[in-house]
Amino acid sequence: MFKRTFSTLLIILLISNYNSIANNLYDKQDWREEEGIYTRIYDAKIKLISGEQTSIHQLAAKKPLIVALVFTRCAGVCNPLLLQLKENIQIILRKNQYKFSVLVLSFDPLDSLKDMQNLAYRFNLLNEPNWELAVVDSISSMTKSVNFFPVWDMRKKQYDHDALLVGVNTQGYITKKLIGLRSADEISLLISDINNVYRPSYRLPTPANMFTCFNYDPKTGKNTPGWGLAFIALPALLTVGILAFLRLRGKYHS
């Protein structure tokens, strides 16, 4: 008797906690692009490689920004991020009419303006009109405001960090983020978004979402019906059942 009660309780406990365990795992593995959307990026003072002093909001007020976070000694993802971004921007500029600037910011306190100028030289960005490279004053407040948390790896003498692009509109609001190396199409969507042009986007499923109407598969781009749809049909079905029951009951009583 005790055993049975105990095992039933254990099963209930496991089932009720499954979602929370799955959710925590999910949170740890995945950075969330939706984190911090519609909050303002920290208005840090920045120094552009041209020597001009300004702030992030002031720069954004002129043209919406794509902020890329890198450091000059980076042996990891920074180089491919910048290379691919440059290539994609060239493709986009051929078709996209929206205004924007790319602001490459260093999040390493050791980087000087000279280091950033060298970076611009190496990537052939010195004469690119849409590009600005800069060092920033309050690095931690700025990185915190975009949910970017690089971790210093003592052994490799490198920051462990993700490739992040932050879209900021002219009022300084973060309207979209892209994590990882992304295609020209996705960057083009980000550019529309920071220009306040509506772009549809699909929520990615999480284990906590059990009853979804449609499930979007980002790999195939297909939307398949989910269990949630059944809930929309359920009220009508239950009503038919209740009506049948009431009529049978009424017939019996009369």
Partner: protein, 480 residues
């Protein structure tokens, strides 16, 4: 149900509804005057008022329809006093919980409490569960009442009789279904379905609220369920009012009772099915919703409204055209109410057409049309019934004084209030703005004008309130 008991509970409903109506109109006037910058309230107070106003108005005009239908249903079948009383108790408890959550707890997610707003807590933490439970309490009371009325009808009539299917193809079938029974049943089926949708909606919202983040809802599913419930109940309450008009309009006009014909039966059966799918028109802007459902939404909006309004207008014309009518306050209110319902309905159909919705979505056009068929439609249906009932139950046979003045005040106030919404809506002024930003100067002026006309409308309502409630209180405190 014993007549005295039925009279007493109906009188109690009427007094409670009118008191809540007046308080809710005052909240509406405060909102409009604030939008017009004639007074100043803080945005959270504006939205708490808007939420209280919206839920209370929908709630009271729904129970007004139910109370009137229950009253006349007794002419055909035996109804349950206990269920009626239970609904009254639950409604009172629900209203107290609702007003506490909004006016004390400052819950202000709007009458549709669209997900995830209730969980983005910008008010006292207890206000979210209290608000959701208040909807649950209403739902339980109304569910029991609906089931009891349906059970009473299904004891006497078979399923096909109550839906008047025997009228298809036959001119004079053996059993004739009175239009009141047909329309009441059609409406109650819709009410039952949308209350079940509300139950599912609340279960899902509570599951998320009490799961501590382990269960998350699908925003699209919740939006579908919210409008399945909200849109459907807002429509069905109008149909309950129409059932009463089919019953009472010819009677007070001194004309023979209306009969169910094949086209009346067909139109209302279409309404039964299509009104349940019309809510999809609230999701035109949700690109994830498949296009098929959007098209169903548009077609269902037409098919649910056009046939039923067509046959109703036709039936009313048949009653009044070239006939001597005993015009009284009751049938005048019904008649003006039908005009308001049709005008508002046209506004709604315009908005439910996808190509127009791109422009009118979430503009003041939306409150314009739904206030038309409510404030100048359904309210007048119920007011007509309240007036008739208060005289009938107290054997009051003296002619009404100042009827013309009262009606004129109501019409002038109502039309002015509504026009301000329509003009602003056609000019793309957004709805649900506490105050309008620079550049929308005309919206401010229109809001102020609308607010002043609403005060005129309130004066008209007060003139009805005094006499009706006095007589209803007499019914309530009559010795048995």
């Amino acid at each position: 149900m014993e007549t005295k008991k039925l009279n007493k509970i109906t009188a109690l409903w009427i007094v409670a509804i009118l008191v809540l109506f007046i308080l809710s109109i005052i909240l509406g006037i405060i909102m409009r005057l604030n939008q017009g910058e004639l007074i100043k309230i803080q945005p959270p107070t504006f939205y708490a008022d808007m939420t209280t106003h919206g839920v209370t108005m929908i709630g009271i005009w729904f129970v007004a329809g139910m109370a009137a239908v229950n009253y006349f249903m007794e002419r055909y079948v035996k109804t349950s006093y206990t269920a009626n009383m239970f609904a009254m108790v639950m409604t009172v408890i629900g209203v107290v919980m609702l007003w506490l959550s909004t006016l004390v707890g400052n819950f202000h997610a709007g009458w549709t409490f669209l997900y995830p707003l209730p969980f983005k807590i910008m008010w006292s933490t207890w206000a979210t569960p209290l608000f959701l439970w208040s909807i649950g309490v209403f739902g339980i009371g109304w569910f029991v009442w609906t089931i009891s009325l349906m059970a009473a009808m299904l004891k006497k009539y078979s399923m096909s009789q109550v839906l008047a299917w025997q009228h298809f193809g036959k001119k004079d079938p053996e059993v004739s279904t009175p239009p009141f029974v047909l329309i009441s049943m059609i409406s109650l089926i819709g009410v039952l379905t949308c209350l079940i949708a509300a139950v599912i909606l609340l279960i899902l919202l509570f599951a998320e609220y009490y799961s501590g983040g382990t269960f998350k809802n699908d925003a699209l599913l919740i939006k579908n369920l919210t409008y399945f419930f909200g849109h459907t109940i807002a429509n069905e309450m109008l149909y309950l009012g129409l059932a009463v008009i089919y019953e009472l309009f010819p009677e007070v006009s001194g004309r023979p009772k209306l009969k169910t014909t094949w086209y009346v039966a067909l139109a209302w059966n279409l309404t039964l099915f299509f009104v349940l799918a019309a809510f999809f028109h609230h999701l035109y802007m949700d690109f994830v919703q498949p296009e098929g459902l959007q098209i169903i939404g548009q077609l269902a909006s037409y098919l649910a409204s056009l046939p039923s309004s067509g046959v109703t207008v036709f039936s009313i014309i048949v009653v009044v055209f070239r006939n001597k009518i005993n015009w009284s306050l009751t049938n005048s209110l019904f008649f003006i109410g039908i005009v308001g319902w049709v005008v508002g309905g046209v506004g709604a159909v315009i908005d439910a057409t996808i190509s127009n919705n791109f422009i009118l979505h979430n503009t003041l056009w939306v409150p314009a049309h739904f206030h038309t068929y409510n404030a100048m439609g359904n309210v007048l249906f119920s007011l007509g019934f309240f007036h008739w009932f208060s005289k009938y139950a107290t054997n009051h046979s003296l002619p009404d004084k100042y009827s013309f003045v009262k009606l004129a005040i109501l019409i002038i106030g109502g039309v002015g209030f509504l026009l301000a919404f329509y003009i602003a809506g056609a000019d793309s002024v957004p709805r649900r703005y506490s105050t309008y930003p620079k550049g929308l100067e005309s919206a401010k002026t229109l809001a102020a004008v609308g607010g002043v006309f609403a005060i005129v409308y309130l004066t008209g309502i007060l003139s009805f309130f005094v006499n009706i409630s006095k007589r209803c209180l007499n019914v309530l405190f009559q010795r048995s």
